[in-house]
């Protein structure tokens, strides 16, 4: 009987020591991490590498252009520099929203739902909010939209869209429902994404909000009416002031 007690005690002692050893080994720090942390890293490495490849392509193009520029200096006939200045100006003025643009695209109308409310349902379910417009614009950009306007206001880099009571403020101007969103780009792709199973258009319709989208061969979008001037942000490397 005494022997049995001793052996039981010995077993318990060993197990107890094992636990302490295990607790000490980790030193209070994490010794394991989740698989997600590793896959996140892998995904980001792959995407950084893809970006680097893309930048290297741009470097090659810039080098070619530089060679052409050098050539241009001794050649009166051709004028690569001049045509490139014009191209760059066109590109950046479209991007900055400084000129009217036209092209194929889509026209979207979003309006508050007209159906009756269910018993006890919140009216907010049927109303269009700023986040809805933001999400539609985001989805359009994701589908490669090149120029976007909401109720005639060009969406530029600095554009914010905010609900203020019954109205929505875009670029500092006030608008009310319905919202007409125009986007120039690949119409089929934009419609497909908006109306896919998980598309934002589909989910708005499920809420009961009115959402229509039509492909148009030619859409015209007006220039941004405001002016953008940086007060705080300065170009890096230019320390004149």
């Amino acid at each position: 009987m005494n022997k049995r007690n001793v052996s039981a005690f010995a077993v318990a002692l060993v197990i107890g020591i094992m636990f302490v050893v295990q607790a000490r080994a980790s030193g209070g720090e994490k010794i394991y991490t989740s698989r997600k942390a590793v896959t996140d890293c892998e995904t980001m490495i792959a995407s950084e590498q893809a970006t680097t490849e893309n930048i290297k392509e741009q470097i090659k193009e810039a080098e070619l252009l530089l060679a052409e520029y050098e050539n241009d200096k001794f050649n009166e006939e051709e004028n690569v520099v001049e045509s490139n200045i014009r191209d760059e100006w066109t590109k950046y003025s479209i991007l900055a929203g400084a000129c009217d643009v036209k092209g194929p695209g889509v026209e979207i109308t979003v309006d508050d739902g007209k159906r009756d409310l269910y018993a006890g349902e919140d009216i907010n379910n049927l109303l269009v909010h700023d986040i809805d417009i933001l999400m539609i614009i985001n989805e359009l950009k994701h589908s490669g939209a090149e120029a976007i306007s909401v109720n005639g206001q060009r969406i530029v880099d600095s554009t914010s869209i905010n609900c203020s009571g019954w109205t929505v403020r875009i670029n500092g101007q006030t608008y009310a429902r319905p919202f007409v969103i125009k986007a120039i780009g690949n119409g089929r792709r934009m419609v497909a994404n908006l109306l896919s199973e998980n598309g934002y258009g589909t989910s708005l319709r499920e809420w009961g909000v009115i959402f229509t989208v039509e492909i148009a061969d030619e859409i015209e979008i007006a220039a941004y009416s405001g002016s953008e001037n940086f007060v705080y942000a300065k170009e890096k490397g230019e320390e004149k002031e």
Partner: protein
């Protein structure tokens, strides 16, 4: 009587051991068993990631230098042409406001971290990733408060930027990102900070509704990197009626 004491003691011991085992088993049950990775392995990946980032930055610097050389030639060769010279200075202005160059200035840095994991919900689920529309909303609020340049994890937010969910990660400008998120914004620091931290505002929503850790710090001189993608317009053409050409 002596007989029973021995049995009682070993019985108690068995119960104690059983409880310890049970506690340990239940504490590992929540995490995906077999899916755990040694922390040291993650360190290797982190090193590889920072190497990939450095390589990208080097390439970008090379590109920026080349573009500067091109611009110098452009300026030299159009010095006598007033029209071209005008186009050049307009392009330069547009490049600044559309995010084509690195900028610096005063601003704020907002850090968003996923909630600290408790045993049951392992960090395989990222709260902020699944609520990426909150990032969209935060960017919108910062713009409303007058932010001039914004970046999320050093990806510059430009006119064409989308923030979308791609698998387990948020894609910004087509690049995959992961938490924690660092949002930098150049502008009036006080206005921006106060605008987003009003009661019931975006920061409170992030903290209360999603249990995220949000920190705001101001910086006298923030640097926000340029957009590094290619911009091409395949569909949109400028309307040229009374305009040039």
């Amino acid at each position: 009587m002596k007989k029973y004491i021995g049995i009682a003691v070993s019985g108690l011991l068995a119960i104690a051991v059983g409880m310890v085992l049970a506690v340990q088993m239940s504490s590992t049950a929540g995490s995906d068993q077999g899916g755990l990775v040694p922390y040291s392995k993650l360190k290797d990946y982190e090193v590889a990631l920072s190497e990939a980032r450095n390589e990208k930055e080097d390439a970008l610097e090379e590109l920026t230098l080349l573009q500067e050389r091109l611009q110098t030639i452009e300026r030299e060769m159009s010095a006598e042409d007033a029209v071209l010279d005008g186009l050049l200075s307009e392009t330069e202005k547009y490049r600044l406001i559309t995010g084509a160059v690195d900028v610096h200035g005063p601003g704020i840095i907002i850090t968003i971290k996923d909630p600290v994991v408790t045993d049951e919900y392992q960090d395989d689920i990222s709260i902020i990733t699944y609520h990426y529309e909150e990032l969209l909303s935060l960017v919108n609020k910062l713009k409303e408060a007058g932010a001039e340049a914004i970046s999320i994890n050093d990806h510059r937010i430009v006119q064409t930027t989308e923030i979308s969910l791609a698998g387990q990660n948020i894609n910004i400008n087509g690049s995959a990102t992961a938490p924690p998120y660092y949002i930098k914004a150049i502008g009036n620091p006080t206005t921006m900070e106060n605008a987003i931290s009003i009661r019931g505002g975006i920061v409170e929503t992030l903290k209360k509704n999603y249990n995220l850790t949000v920190d705001i710090s101001t910086d006298e001189d923030l640097v926000i990197p340029r957009y590094n993608g290619v911009i091409t317009f395949r569909y949109a053409k400028p309307v040229t009626e009374s305009e040039e050409e």
